[in-house]
Assembly symmetry: none
DNA sequence: TATGAATGAGCCTTCATTCAT
DNA sequence: GATGAATGAAGGCTCATTCAT
């Protein structure tokens, strides 16, 4: 039904990631879908609107994903498994949705000027949810059950997020194989540091 | 002497950081310097060339900085101090050159397409130097002197770089005060994890 | 039967009057009829053809109206009544068909370029008929019967037409009430000037 | 100095009159000036702005002209001469500035939608001034000095304006020679009707 | 050094039109 | 009768770039 529409969105996502909002040209998006530029306007009212829809989609996916993670975590027993679950999700351990993730991260770091404010506040909202609903409870329970050292939870969160976002840069530069190894290294390091080994 | 030239470069840097290569307009750069767009061409061949010069400047500064750091490190006694020295440099602890650092990082993550390859290889070269000349020796010596746990040095490096690059995202979103606190948190965490606490 | 067709024509008339031929958009015409733009092409060959049909309709109506007026005049006794009958018709005294009249007048003054010649010659033909069949006979008979001063009939005609067309501008700018008053004023003035008061 | 700018304005005026705001194309304006379309943007920020400037120029000219007419009238002795002075000005008796006059009148009757309100109110202001400063005083004095019949001045004004605006339509359709004759006919008619012949 | 003026290339967008369903 | 989808042609506009002064 909405086939062309979806194909446009996929092509646009890809080009926005590669070239940024300003760098991406509608001609190229159209070419990738094998239609003419004018035809884009049957499906989207403007380049801005196309970008906005893409961004909102991602935002909604990420928010929906928080619920999914919440459930997954409840089905896991240990703090270690739970944290690893969150870690894996964030770092795109499996390389599965790299394009979408890159769109999300490029938008986050360098948004097109006409959406700066909205994106900024959306992201802050998202991170707040991620912390309040997932990261913080998991860590607190871990401490409570003596699985984790009784560190200041806030500090662990800062480190967790920093590590995870650091992986994104690696994602850009490392070969897939090296990247996968690094993911493991970083995780093990993090875990060693917070587990209550006594 | 080169006053206008330098003012142009400063303004360009700022706008390239804010809007990206494609998003930045020569008119705005000129406006910021209080000259007309046409005048830019007396000082620079083209927009591309202006960007390239800016990038090369940064690259050279970073390379030169490696030597500076090398010296600083030699003057410091402990592994802790040395690592902290490197950490501080990278994370822009003092917020001093944030614009330049942002230019460097934006270029690294999302380079303009006409420079993708060069930037990519320059960055890999830089990181290799940073590791080989600074990070690796410091860690190895730290281990050797029993100041650090006898971890696999490569792993510590991966973590170090990941943390440090993670701080960049924070830099974008946190208020200065929160950012400074986080820098400390991350550092303390890292240090606790690698020091040989006996 | 031709319901949609007629509704399209009505909507088109309205928009051509408001925005002119170039300014009027088929989308808006379609919207006003609650159909899609593509559907217009089931009823009309093209935008040009739609306009042409509208114009020809008006032209035919105006020509037919000449016959109607001719009859009306024959049923009236005095030159005063007869002239007033023509005056009323032209000046849209009753505000009844203002949209159609405006279409006619906008087309007359500022026709779309592809119809300039045809419209021009149609109008001249119409005015010639109006004068030869209605205005001139009425005036000549009025003079003959001593109801009118023995002015040069051609001059009276020039004045009559000028006054009547001048009312059109007023029609654009005056409020309905003021307009109706002005119509009367102009008529009385005209009549005073040509009646044979002794 | 502002040569190109002025040539653009002249060409634009001409095309706006001929084709209307929407019908006029920047390419054609540029062609008429022997420059490229893009160059127009060095002189004007947009098509709308170009039109606005043209309109404001005309408006200011018309307003300035009211002062000029005011002086001319003061130098004339009789009401007849004075009224004829106003009549001549309005009807473009000499065919001198026909393009500008046509721009003014086309804008008045069928303004581009983005300027409808402004133009409307500007025109009402202008007409008010014309009446209050020129037409009304001249007529009142004429009545006072017994040169004019003691008609209701407001009625004479309505007729005067109607006649004058009616001439505009003629201007569109008549050949220059016929037009000049008609101007005289209308004037004589008007004058005969208001002069105090006893 | 700087700029007024102009331009080529290309971008986003609009709009009338077509055509298969 | 009507429409979803697509398109050609063109339109307004932007922007890096040039060049004579």
């Amino acid at each position: 039904m909405y086939l062309t529409r979806e194909r446009i969105k996929k092509a646009a996502l890809s080009l926005f990631v590669k070239d940024g909002y300003e760098g991406a040209r509608l001609v190229d998006i159209a070419k990738a879908v094998n239609i003419k530029t004018a035809s884009l306007y049957y499906h989207f009212e403007s380049k801005e609107q196309l970008f906005i829809e893409l961004f909102n989609d991602m935002r909604n996916k990420k928010l929906a994903n928080i619920k999914v993670l919440h459930q997954q975590i409840n089905e896991l027993g240990s703090a270690k498994e739970r944290l690893f679950c969150l870690y894996s999700d964030y770092s795109n351990r499996g390389y599965e949705h790299s394009e979408e993730l890159n769109f999300w991260k490029r938008s986050a770091l360098f948004p097109p000027s006409f959406l700066r404010e909205k994106i900024h506040s959306d992201l802050i909202d998202y991170q707040k949810l991620f912390i309040d609903l997932l990261l913080m409870p998991v860590i607190l329970e871990g401490i409570h059950s003596n699985e984790l050292k009784s560190h200041d939870a806030n500090k662990s969160i800062v480190v967790f997020l920093s590590l995870i976002q650091g992986m994104f840069s690696e994602f850009h530069y490392s070969q897939p194989k090296a990247y996968k190894e690094k993911i493991v290294v970083v995780w093990e390091f993090f875990w060693d540091s917070i587990e209550n080994s006594k």
